[in-house]
């Protein structure tokens, strides 16, 4: 085969899709990739603790309840972050707290995406009466200050039995956060769907005779879904901080260690000069939030084509 024939046989260059393009641009951002690595570590740790608890492995984080030294031992080579009042290792408690925080933030995100995205899409697509009802619901929710709303939900849901299932500890926490924080994403999706509704590809889909469910879920949502991911990479931080505040106010996990509960303990400890529990929990939250903030910003810059042009 001659060279010219080979050239003809070669397929035309393929265009890259939004996701591939975004991933490529993301890979070029070194700080963002480093943060992605940090995030992966946190998630792997949380997953690993789940596995270890399931199979009953006796390793560091699952043995947090064991005594590792005397009460309030300062940081040493044996216990890197020292011990708390019961002589439990602060390092183990901090590691275990990762599981609680990640679980809460993930579940809360899932709940608010499942509520917010379909409601926003339906409101934006159908408009009219349905739209007015949905807008009324989220305007009502958003007129109550966010933290007060979460607290009100958490207080009421805590220790309540719903559908034969008792809401204890973190279940009430992520339900409260999830049920209150879908408003932002719903508003975002609604606005975006209204914008997309008049575009040619939707008109084309209508002319093919697609039904409305297919148009919304197969055509519209995939085209606005990157906004959901961007929004949640940044909202994740707020969820983690909300969990800390709720645990601190005594509305969170009480039986197992969490970062909020550790900070709550530190309130009394600090006056005795015991700073390590506070420092460990704050550092754990700080690095997770920092990684999420930087990665979320990079994700937005990579996935949002409108921002890239500017």
């Amino acid at each position: 085969m001659s060279e010219s024939q080979q050239l003809i046989k070669k397929e035309p260059p393929k265009g890259r899709g939004l996701w591939k393009d975004g991933a490529r641009s993301l890979r070029r951002r070194k700080p963002a990739m480093f943060c992605f690595g940090v995030l992966t570590l946190y998630f792997l740790l949380a997953g690993f603790i789940y596995l270890a608890e399931f199979f009953d492995w006796r390793i560091g984080p699952t043995l947090w309840a064991e005594q590792a030294g005397q009460s309030y031992a300062p940081p040493s080579s044996k216990n890197i972050f020292g011990t708390d009042i019961f002589g439990q290792s602060v390092l183990r408690k901090t590691l275990y707290g990762t599981k609680i925080s990640i679980t809460v933030a993930l579940c809360a995100s899932l709940i608010s995406i499942t509520i917010g995205v379909p409601l926003g899409a339906v409101a934006g697509y159908f408009r009219g009466f349905v739209d007015e009802i949905i807008v009324w619901i989220y305007s009502t929710l958003s007129s109550v200050p966010y933290i007060l709303l979460i607290l009100a939900f958490a207080v009421v849901l805590r220790d309540r039995t719903l559908f034969g299932y008792k809401l204890t500890g973190i279940t009430a926490v992520y339900l409260a956060i999830g049920l209150t924080s879908w408003v932002g994403i719903c508003r975002l999706i609604r606005g975006e769907v209204i914008k997309h509704k008049g575009r040619e590809y939707i008109l084309a889909a209508i002319s093919y005779g697609c039904n409305r469910r297919r148009i919304i879920f197969r055509h519209l949502l995939p085209n606005v879904f990157h906004l959901v991911i961007i929004d949640f990479s940044l909202r994740f931080v707020a969820f983690i901080h909300a969990e800390v505040i709720l645990s601190f106010l005594g509305l969170g996990e009480t039986e197992r260690p969490s970062w909020g509960a550790m900070i709550n303990d530190a309130r009394i400890e600090l006056s005795r000069g015991v700073w390590w529990q506070m420092a460990a929990a704050t550092a754990a939250i700080f690095f997770l939030s920092l990684a999420l903030n930087i990665f979320g910003d990079a994700l937005r810059d990579s996935l949002d084509p409108k921002l890239r042009i500017q």
Partner: protein, 312 residues
């Protein structure tokens, strides 16, 4: 113009109705009958019945003129919130907490806004340089520290260890004395987020054509920034400021709890601890009402300033 205002006023009715519905669903339907909890352990049936009678928990939920549903609306609209669990009227508690809360939140708020707007201007002035990047890094780092971290370390180092401020509230201190450290902490904690927001506002404004024109005329960067950009950026800044005002009445839950300041945030924290639904419900309603009112004021101000708004 007046039709717009009337329509906007009418629109607040369903929102207020919605908030009352929400508090009813949360605290009466889901929360349920808490008379046994109020009466405490080992209370006789008589005491429980008395409490039910007082709070109206023995009335039908719906479908009656004297039902709990109707009374909930009646009480809220007449600002009659009944008594808290320690028998003090809820409204008295709220009135008492308002002063200390405002003394705390107002200085924090204006401190944060003034400092971050001025810094945002400076950062926009040096945009693209090392200083800009440094400021961005510090902002993100500041946003990542949990609020409790700021409070605990601030209290530990500044008050406890170095003794610069009183550690806790006590009645003999003057307002300025007990509020100083919480205000300082509040400003430090809020700065990162706000500076980032105002920097984005400034940079968005700088992409406009009039800025290019101003530069093309040969104006200095300083003149363009302070004379042209700042004036136009005032619109989003004022919106943020006005809409933040209702939140000032809420106080600061965490700061007040840590420093023992008897404001509304402290009241909330206490109510959460004792599961006092009456206080939480009243606070939710009042803060939503304030938010709706201030939202209305902002929109009406907009329609006064910008005739395009009322044409929509």
């Amino acid at each position: 113009m007046s039709t717009y205002i009337i329509r906007r006023l009418l629109y607040t009715i369903p929102i207020v109705f919605g908030v009352l519905l929400l508090t009813f669903v949360l605290f009466t339907l889901v929360g349920g009958d808490i008379s046994i909890e109020i009466a405490g352990k080992g209370a006789t049936q008589e005491t429980i019945d008395e409490i039910r009678e007082e709070y109206g928990l023995n009335k039908p939920l719906f479908l009656s003129w004297d039902s709990q549903f109707v009374n909930h609306f009646k009480n809220a609209l007449t600002f009659n919130f009944g008594r808290a669990r320690d028998r003090e009227p809820v409204i008295d508690k709220i009135k008492r907490g308002l002063g200390p809360s405002l003394a705390l939140t107002v200085p924090i708020f204006f401190g944060v806004v003034i400092i971050s707007v001025s810094l945002a201007l400076v950062v926009a002035f040096v945009r693209g340089t090392v200083w800009d990047i440094l400021a961005a890094v510090i902002c993100v780092a500041g946003m990542s520290i949990p609020y409790l971290g700021f409070i605990l370390f601030g209290q530990y180092f500044l008050a406890y260890k170095w003794g610069l401020f009183p550690v806790f509230f006590s009645p003999e201190l003057t307002t300025a004395q007990y509020v100083a450290l919480p205000v300082l902490i509040g400003i430090a904690a809020g700065l990162g987020r706000n500076l980032r927001f105002f920097r984005t506002v400034m940079l968005d404004e700088m992409r406009n054509d009039y800025v290019r024109t101003a530069f093309a005329k040969g104006l200095t960067t300083r003149r363009v920034l302070f004379k042209h950009v700042l004036k136009n950026a005032m619109i989003p800044i004022i919106t943020r400021v006005v809409l933040a005002i209702p939140f000032l009445f809420l106080g600061s839950l965490l700061l007040e709890r840590f420093f023992g300041i008897p404001g509304l945030g402290y009241l909330m924290a206490e109510a959460i601890g004792s599961r006092d639904y009456f206080v939480i419900s009243a606070m939710t309603y009042i803060s939503a009402l304030l938010f709706v009112v201030f939202n209305l004021i902002t929109d009406i101000c907009y329609s006064l300033v910008d005739p395009r708004v009322s044409l929509e």
